[in-house]
Each structure stands twice: as structure tokens, then as C-alpha cells.
Amino acid sequence: MTDLDPHVHQPTRLRLLMLLSGVDSADFTFLLGLLGLTKGNLSSHMTRLEEAGYVKIAKTFTGKIPNTSYSLTPTGRASLKRYWRAIDEIRQTAPAIVPARRPRRRQAVARPQPRSAET
């Protein structure tokens, strides 16, 4: 099976990379407002992506206010492409498994759950 890049596969980081792939650059406030993360959480995700070489960080000043903006590097863009290709490959190999599992899962959902499990 194709290996998925753990830096990209993490849901928040995947969304961050997808956001940055649509624009040239975006600043910290923009990403914070969109993803609903805490400042520390966003910062740690961006640091990981920067360490992986997927994101470039630019620190500037607008007037006297510091501004941090992020942009996707060519490496990041390529890894994002690879990731989606891998996902599509997995999906293409999956049909044999997925239809067999689905009805069973639906039945399990329809079955009444014991009270203790509900609470």
C-alpha cells in the first residue's frame, strides 16, 4: 500500500497546506480565523511544516505591528500532489473492500445499542 506523508496526512496540517496551495501567501491572523485553532496550536503546526520544508515563513512589519505570513514551498506543493495521488490510488484499490464492508457497518448502526453504552 502507498505510504502517506504523516506531515500532510494530519487533518489540520492538510487543511493548512490546502489553504496555502490556493493563494500566494496568507498571514497568521487569516489562518487563525479560518481554522479556529489556538495561536499555540497553529504556531506548532506551522513550525512542523516549516521544519519539513513545506512552508516558508516571512516575518515583516506593517507599521509597528509584526506580521507573519506563510507560503507553500515547491517541495510542499509537490508533497501535497503526491499525497492526493496516493489517496486516489488507495481509493482505486479499495472498491473490492469497501462495498463488502459497507452493508455490515450500516446494519451495526441500525441495531439498537444497549443503554449503558449510550450513557
Binding site: P11, T12, L14, R15, M18, L19, S21, G22, V23, D24, S25, A26, D27, F28, T29, F30, L31, L32, G33, L34, L35, G36, T62, G63, N67, S69, W84, I87, D88, R91, Q92, A94, P95, V98, P99, V109, Q113
Partner: protein, 254 residues
Amino acid sequence: MTPNADTEARRPDDEVREIPKWARRYAQNRTLPVLVGLVISIAGFAMFAGLSLLTAWAYLFGLRVLAIASMTALCALFAFWIWFSFFGAARLIDRISQWLYRREGSVTLGIPQVGFPPKAEHKRLLLVAFVYMFCVFAGVGLGFLRVYPLSLIQPVSALYVVPFLCYLGWRLRAHRIGSPFMFLWPTLYAIHAVLIVAGAPISMGPMLDMFVPTFGYGFLAALAAHLYSRIALRRLRHLGAGSDSGQPAQGVRP
């Protein structure tokens, strides 16, 4: 289309794949700088119009001192406006826009913030601007010299305003910036011209016939783009928060 697309209506990652598209749409339609620029231009024109009227009124009523003072103020305003257009306007618009977008943050698209327009295109744009300014002065001048009826001043101006606005929109779109809604501006301007030629009773007098469509339709187009950017932002927030529509919310059993 992948083979699975037939069997699965909508996959959870479809929404994630939509993020770049909506991010681009949002960034393209951030037109508050255009609205700010139009408001500043309208304020400038209002000052010009006010001072011109005051000068004319003072001259007609023989108030020589007032006429000379308002004429001097008009000249000073003209000099300031030229300086402001070249050196101050861009910075002021940028600062006001940044303040207005302070809660949303900033996002750039296509080209870096600095260095626009690209050097290769700078000369071409300057040439287009000069040709446009020449057409404006020639068109209005010929109108006031009664070469053509003043009631047709807006339709005549459409002959150069519409191509100019289309050219600007096309160049911005070529750089992947600029909202497609901004093409509403020349479209509405052209429709207005056609209606006047067809005899529709929408004329407001020679000066307002130029002023209202130029700024009014620009304002409308920028406002439409801004409203669309709100929709795109809401959609992006939905996608960014990861609330996949096909899945139940946490704690809710199907």
C-alpha cells in the same frame, strides 16, 4: 471521474479538495481597496466641484476677494491631487484597507504585494493611462465645445471608458488577481450608454451623466465582489473547521 465516483455520492475529502478553490475566490474578491479608492476619488471630486461652484458664484456676484481665494484653493487642491495620485493615494488606500481587514488578516494571490505592476508591463500601463486621460479631456472638451450634443456625453465617454476598464480587468485577471465581478463595471456603463442613445429617460445632466455611472457602477461592481468574498469566507470557514457535511456531528447518533 474515478470509478468510485459512481458508487459514492460525496467523499469526505471532497470538501478538503475544495479549499484552494474557495481560498482563491475569497482572495480575488477582496475588493475593499477598490471601494476605499472610489470613496477617496468621490471625496476629491466633491471638493473640486464645491470649490468650482464657489469660485463661479463669487465671480458672478462680484465678490472678487472670495473668487480669488477660492480660485487659489482650487489650484492648490489640483496640485495636491496630482501629488497625492502619484505618491500618497496607494499608501493611504493600503493602510485603510489593512485596517478594515485587520480581523480577517491578509492574503496575497498570484503575485507578491511589492513589485506590481511588473516592470515589463509598467510602460504599457502608463501609455494606456495617458491615452485614457487624453480621451477623457478630448471627449469632455469636444462635448463642451458642442461638437456633439452634451446629452450624449456619457455614450461618447463609453467609447473609451469601456475598453479601458475591460483592458484593466483583463490584465488583472491575467495575473490571477482581480475579481471577475469587476467586469460588471464596464458592462453596466455600456448598458447605460445604450439606454441613453435609445432615449431612455435616465439622463441627469452632462456632469452627473459622467460622474454617476463612472463611480456608481464601479461601486456596485466592487460591492458585489465584496459580498461574494463574504460568501467565500463563510464557505472557507466551514471547510477549514472540517465540518464534513456527510458526517454526523459529535455526540449525535444516526
